[in-house]
Each structure stands twice: as structure tokens, then as C-alpha cells.
């Protein structure tokens, strides 16, 4: 039981990152390998606002989400739009986003230096006990904020004009264009929202993990794994996949072996892909022919 509880906050973080992958994938068909580095940027910006500028947790959270969203839009405008206009093969798009990841990572190294930073949490990290179980207020904060963001995302997708445009484009890009949806705008919105989700995950995880310039690689990969487990491009699947992965890692690390934890994760991932190529929660694979 305790393992399950420990896995929940980790799962929430993975779920946020998985959402950011899924959203971009479904709305613009791009597999964005720089998502993990948006997490890193969010964590560093949050650290800068809180520790160096002395802002509170709330304003820092919002500010870094906004700034990273701007970075996301810049990436879409400057790199992915030209690629799309030239009809580049998917492998080139993958390499381009990897290029973004390498660049972002090393700009961060230049700005913030090679030393790991630790973000001061706004709440205490002393565990509180509920019966036999213990959970830290920081973990509760992660869970609460993640759930809040997921609801906000749902609201945005269902009720706002931009969100509806996103869903229309995701369903049928061509038809959406005919209906007068500005796909350039919707792509930018997808990148902005995704990047800010990543940034949020970064600030939330910063008090428990160290903030380093290459933290994005690990978290980004795990988030992508979660997104695929849930079914890439399927929003509820990304959330489910995130929690599934968090719980799996926590259980595998606690029960079997911490060294082989990631081996187990990846092995289960490959077996899952083999048996159910469309993800755990999606019934059929939507194959574009």
C-alpha cells in the first residue's frame, strides 16, 4: 500500500508530461522530443523567480508557465512550421525537436551552471501519517495541482473556442481547415499549452528532485513512455498511463530491485506495445492509411 501511495505523486508528474506529449501529437501530429526540456526550463525558471527574485510560489508558478509557453510557441513558429511547409519526412521532424532539446539543455547549462539546485517547497516535507500510511504535504501539493491542471485542461478543450479548434483539428485537420479553423493558430496553441504543462510538472517536481540542466532527458522519456502506454494522442489515456507508470515504478523499485526498476519498466512497455499496440486504454488503433 505504501508503495502505491509513493507512486501517486510521481504518477501525477508523469501524467502531466504525458499530457503535454499527447496534446501536441494529437493536435499537430508532431512527436516533440523537447518536451522534457520544457520541464527543465519550468523548474529552473521557478527556481529563479522564487530563490533569486523572491517571489511567492503562486506567482512563480504562473510566470514560469507563461514564459515556457512562449518558448513552446517560438519552437513551433521558428522550427516546426517551416518543416511542415516544406513537407519534411517525420524523421526530420524528430531530429529537429531533438536539436531543440540539445540547444535548450545547453543554454540552460550556460545560464544556470552545472550545479544541481533545489527548489524550496512552499509546504513542509515532513510526512504526515494516516493510519499506517505516510505522505508528505509536498506530495499532496503535487497531486492537488496536477489534478487542478488536468481539470483546467479539460475545461479549456471542451468549453473555449481555442480548445474546440484544437479538438477539431485533431479529429480531421483537412475538414477543420475547410470549416475556417486557423491551423497555424491551433498548432501554436497546442505547443503553448503543452509547454506550460511541462513547466508546471517541472516546478512541482523541483522540490523532490534536484534541478539540473539535463533533468529533462529522464523525465521527458518517462513522460513519453506514459503517453504511449495510455495511447498516444488520447488525453484520458495519458493521465491513466502516467499514474500507471508511477505506480509500476514505485512497486518495481520497492519490491524487486531498484537497479532493475527501469529494466522492468521498459520490458513491460515493449511487451505492452507488442500485445496492445494502441495503448492500454484505447480499444482500436487509429491507423491513417
Amino acid at each position: 500500500m505504501q508503495y502505491l501511495l509513493n507512486g501517486l505523486p510521481l504518477g501525477a508528474i508523469y501524467a502531466l508530461v504525458a499530457l503535454s506529449y499527447s496534446l501536441i501529437y494529437t493536435a499537430s501530429g508532431v512527436l516533440n522530443w523537447s518536451q522534457g526540456d520544457m520541464v527543465m526550463l519550468g523548474a529552473y525558471l521557478g527556481f529563479t523567480f522564487m530563490s533569486l527574485a523572491g517571489l511567492g510560489f503562486g506567482p512563480s508558478f504562473v510566470l514560469s508557465m507563461l514564459l515556457v509557453a512562449a518558448v513552446g510557441v517560438a519552437v513551433q513558429r521558428l522550427i516546426l512550421r517551416p518543416l511542415k511547409e516544406r513537407g519534411a519526412p517525420p524523421i526530420n521532424v524528430v531530429i529537429a525537436t531533438l536539436g531543440v532539446a540539445i540547444t535548450t539543455r545547453n543554454v540552460a547549462l550556460l545560464v544556470w551552471g552545472p550545479n544541481a539546485q533545489l527548489l524550496q517547497s512552499p509546504v513542509s516535507s515532513n510526512p504526515i501519517g494516516i493510519g499506517m500510511l505516510r505522505i508528505t504535504p509536498q506530495d499532496l501539493l503535487i497531486l492537488a495541482m496536477a489534478l487542478l491542471l488536468m481539470f483546467a485542461l479539460q475545461y479549456m478543450l471542451r468549453r473555449t473556442k481555442e480548445g474546440r479548434a484544437l479538438r477539431a483539428v485533431a479529429q480531421d485537420r483537412y475538414a477543420a481547415v475547410l470549416m475556417g479553423v486557423d491551423t497555424n493558430r491551433s498548432d501554436a496553441v497546442a505547443f503553448a499549452v503543452s509547454a506550460s504543462l511541462g513547466a508546471a510538472a517541472g516546478i512541482l517536481v523541483a522540490p523532490i528532485f534536484f534541478v539540473t540542466f539535463n533533468m529533462g532527458a529522464g523525465i521527458g522519456l518517462k513522460g513519453f513512455v506514459a503517453a504511449v502506454i495510455g495511447g498516444l494522442g488520447y488525453i484520458p489515456g495519458a493521465i491513466g498511463g502516467g499514474f500507471f507508470l508511477g505506480l509500476l515504478e514505485s512497486a518495481a523499485g520497492g519490491q524487486i530491485s531498484s537497479g532493475y526498476r527501469d529494466v522492468i519498466t521498459y520490458a513491460i512497455l515493449i511487451i505492452l506495445l507488442w500485445l496492445k499496440p494502441s495503448g492500454l486504454f484505447l480499444r482500436r488503433r487509429q491507423q491513417k492509411l
Binding site: Y25, L31, I79, P82, L83, R86, G87, A88, P89, P90, I91, N92, V93, V94, I95, A96, L98, G99, V100, A101, I102, T103, T104, R105, N106, V107, L109, L110, A217, L221, F224, V225, V228, L232, S257, G259, Y260, D262, V263, Y266, A267, L269, I270, I271, L273, W274, P277, L289
Partner: protein
């Protein structure tokens, strides 16, 4: 016919130039970098057969490379197997792993396939780190013996250069023959339209598995020479970033030609060396160049060099 003759002359001139390199470059460090580039070329040539020709993008080739290195090095260290049989063992084990990963990969495409290969690469690395009794864990292997081929001992950088050159020529030759054969054309057919190939009676699954095994075999052979060349090795040499680097070399050079693999590898390795002067800005510039290349040279550097070939391919694409 005439252009083919011309091609042969260019090829011979290129080979002659390559063979005379150790006489021109006396700096041992540069020769070392050139040798490394040659080893990477071998991996990338194999990767191009899989990712470029067959369209099965792999981001786990460092895994096959690692298996080649460790199998050859361990059989030399623990069992005293000479280098050449060790290389054969390395090639066989790598392609066996290629077969294993091909089983789930057959059903996957696009991002899902990429993730499965990423998972494979990570599993290999993590097993190398954690299986301490055999692999010596994160500390890695030391004292991998130098190759001794029928009494010829390879010791200096210059001697390694020729061994690597011979392997690369053999590898590229095999890859070219494959690519121009029925197998290569079938690979391309699968890349362009898997469903149509299947409908035409092509045993798609068998060809995909073959592509994985062949590609892994190249990486295994490269790994075998890599271990003997470095003398030491550790799991840190085979990370996700290394798999990404192989893919970048493949795409920057042009993943749909054999020559592109060589061009891309040489270009990116030289770029890394040239950028050393920039120090802290090195990888920033590297990332930006990567982005600019894939936007403005969608067919890679080889696309610019072999224009005629590209036009045919872009017509096939559209």
C-alpha cells in the same frame, strides 16, 4: 553506363585518398578521431538500411553497438577467443537481438516503433550496469586485447585505420549490393507503402525482421572493433544520447543512401571537433546546425551531392 564508369573512377580516387590519409595526417589525435568516425560510419550504414531504406526508425542502435562491444570483449577477456571469431560472435549476437526486437517491432509503426527501440536500447544499457558479475557494472571492462588476425597484430592508430577501412569498405559494399538487389527494392517498397506491398504478396514481416537483423549485424561488427580499439569500455558509451547521435548522423547525411551514412557521420564528427573551440557554446551551435540542416536539406548532405538521385526519390515521394 558512362556515369557508372565515372562513378567507379570517383570511388577509386576516393579510396586511394582515404588509404593515404595516415601518411598525410601525422597527428595521432586526429587519426584517433578519424578511426572513431570510421567505426560510427559502420553503425550508420547499417542504420540507413533499417531507417532509411525500410523506414523503420530506430533510436536504440547504441544497444546493438553495445552488444557487439561486450560480446567480443568478454569472449576475449574471459574465454580467450581471438578477435576475428569474437567479431563473428558479436555479429551473431547482435543480429539475434535484432531478431528479438523485430518480433514486437513488426506490429509497430511511427512513434510506437521509436519508443520500442528506445526501450530496447535502455534495457541493454541498464542490464550492462546492473549485471555486475559478468559485465563489471558501471565500472566497465578494462584491458580488452588488441586484435590479432592470423598473426598480424594491430597495435597503432595507423594499423587500426586500415583495419577499420577494410571493414567499412566491406560493410558499405555489402550494403550497396543489398540496396541495389531485390531485397533493397523490397525494403523501399515497404517504406513507401506497407499495405500495398503486402497486397502484392511481399512477405513484409520477414523482410522487416531481416532489416532489423542486418542492421544490428553492422552495429555488432562496429562494436567488436570499437572495444578492441578503445581497450576499455563502459555502459556510459552506449546511452540514449548515443543512439540519437547515430540517427542524427544518418539523417544529416541522408538516410536513404549508403553514401549518406558516411557523409553524415564524417560531417557530424568533424563538426563536433571543429566546435571544440567554442567550448561552452559547442552543443548549442551543434543543436542549431542540426535544426537548420533538417529544415533546409530535407534529403541530407548526400541529397545535395547526388542531385540526380534525389530528384528521382522526391518524385517517388510526391
Amino acid at each position: 553506363m558512362k556515369s557508372e564508369k565515372k562513378h567507379l573512377i570517383y570511388l577509386a580516387a576516393g579510396l586511394l585518398a582515404a588509404a593515404s590519409l595516415p601518411f598525410v595526417i601525422t597527428n595521432v589525435y586526429y587519426l584517433h578521431v578519424i578511426n572513431l568516425a570510421g567505426i560510427y560510419c559502420l553503425v550508420t550504414v547499417g542504420l540507413n538500411l533499417l531507417s532509411g531504406y525500410t523506414g523503420q526508425v530506430s533510436m536504440g542502435h547504441a544497444g546493438f553497438f553495445a552488444i557487439g562491444t561486450y560480446v567480443s570483449a568478454l569472449s576475449a577477456l574471459d574465454l580467450g577467443v581471438p578477435w576475428l571469431p569474437g567479431t563473428i560472435l558479436a555479429v551473431l549476437s547482435a543480429s539475434l537481438c535484432g531478431f528479438v526486437i523485430a518480433v514486437p517491432a513488426m506490429k509497430l509503426a511511427g512513434s510506437y516503433l521509436v519508443l520500442a527501440t528506445v526501450g530496447f536500447g535502455e534495457i541493454v544499457r541498464l542490464v550492462l550496469v546492473n549485471w555486475t558479475p559478468v559485465t563489471k557494472g558501471a565500472a566497465g571492462l578494462v584491458g580488452i586485447p588488441l586484435p590479432n588476425i592470423f598473426g598480424i597484430r594491430i597495435t597503432s592508430e595507423g594499423e587500426f585505420f586500415y583495419l577499420i577501412l577494410v571493414m567499412l569498405i566491406l560493410g558499405a559494399g555489402i550494403a550497396r549490393r543489398l540496396a541495389d538487389s531485390k531485397i533493397g527494392r523490397t525494403f523501399i517498397a515497404i517504406r513507401e507503402d506497407e499495405l500495398a506491398s503486402r497486397a502484392m504478396g511481399v512477405p513484409v514481416d520477414r523482410y522487416k525482421t531481416a532489416a532489423f537483423m542486418i542492421s544490428a549485424a553492422f552495429a555488432g561488427a562496429a562494436g567488436s572493433i570499437y572495444g578492441a580499439f578503445s581497450g576499455v569500455t563502459s555502459p556510459d558509451n552506449f546511452t540514449f544520447d548515443d543512439s540519437v547521435a547515430f540517427l542524427c548522423m544518418s539523417v544529416v547525411g541522408g538516410s536513404r543512401t549508403v553514401g549518406g551514412a558516411v557523409v553524415g557521420t564524417v560531417a557530424l564528427v568533424s563538426l563536433t571537433e571543429l566546435l571544440r573551440a567554442f567550448q561552452a557554446y559547442r552543443l548549442i551551435v551543434y543543436g542549431l546546425i542540426l535544426i537548420i540542416t533538417v529544415i533546409y536539406m530535407p534529403q541530407g548532405l548526400a541529397g545535395l551531392m547526388f542531385k540526380k538521385h534525389t530528384r528521382e526519390e522526391s518524385e517517388a515521394d510526391s
